[in-house]
Symmetry: C2
DNA sequence: CTAGGTGCAAAAGGTTTGCGGTTAA
DNA sequence: TTAACCGCAAACCTTTTGCACCTAG
């Protein structure tokens, strides 16, 4: 039985629409499918390499363009971890990220509790909050275990 | 009466030590003083320009090196807002940041409540959290007011 | 049909690095 | 005295852009 992550229906999300003046192109579809196929958080270059397998003519610039457009449409999310290359994720549910300094993996982490910016931060009166990002870095369980073993 | 932020004793922090094999040089002292003088969150280039007034021979690369070294020593903090140039801050108290998309200002925001990563995120068992960052972006009160007025 | 998208190559722009000379401790 | 640091310029690397051709709607 195929898992949720690899089932064709899930991967191809045939109903995806971008809205506005944005067209759904073969390149955007492939980029999106790559993001949905494995819920790791690939960089633009990694997305490029994966898409290239199925579509050898695609260019890195196009991948950047696709990712930016889809992020603008709210279909994809850009995740920035300090100065490292941006990563992208298709999980639009509200969540935080945990970055492992040892293996470089980025994983989604659920927010605990109420999730409104005001619950986390003393936002000054009169501000308009458009988005909030909660992230942590350190060692993931696997790398933490390895470190102890050494 | 000089404010806390501009009083010479505060600016010069004569007792600052870096520890380890790190030396306190005139360049590092100036970079640090600039960060403590105005609690805005200057980029490396902005720090460079400010230090240059008092020390015309300093180079941008040195400012980058000083900032990195001092961040490593825990004397200074690097603040990354998405893909924009890194900013630096001398406030080592735990706090979050609010970035205004209109005027580009970054201001410190107090965390509300308990402040431990586990209170915010469902950190997987066995992880070791080294640091947490909470940030928000949107419009600061001044820019929000202007937008309404238009 | 045509505005929007693609691919390519070149540029941009923040940050890092190699190196010969300098300096804090 | 000497390892650490500085200033300079060049390199690095991710991301953006200009442009001629292509394609979704």
């Amino acid at each position: 039985m195929p898992s949720k992550e690899t089932s064709p229906a899930f991967r191809e999300s045939p109903e995806l629409k971008l809205g506005g003046d944005f067209r759904m192109t073969r390149q955007r579809r492939e980029v999106y499918d790559v993001l949905m196929a494995h819920r790791d958080h690939p960089t633009a270059t990694e997305v490029f390499l994966r898409v290239k397998d199925r579509m050898p003519t695609i260019s890195l610039a196009t991948v950047y363009n696709c990712l930016e457009t889809m992020a603008q449409c709210g279909v994809v999310r850009q995740v920035n971890v300090d100065r490292e290359p941006s990563r992208y994720c298709g999980n639009m549910m509200e969540h935080g990220h945990f970055y492992c300094e040892s293996c470089g993996s980025v994983r989604d982490v659920d927010l605990r509790g109420p999730r409104k910016p005001d619950d986390y931060l003393m936002i000054p009166d009169g501000s308009i909050v458009e988005k909030m990002e909660v992230g942590a870095r350190g060692l993931c369980p696997a790398c933490a275990a390895k470190r102890v073993a050494k």
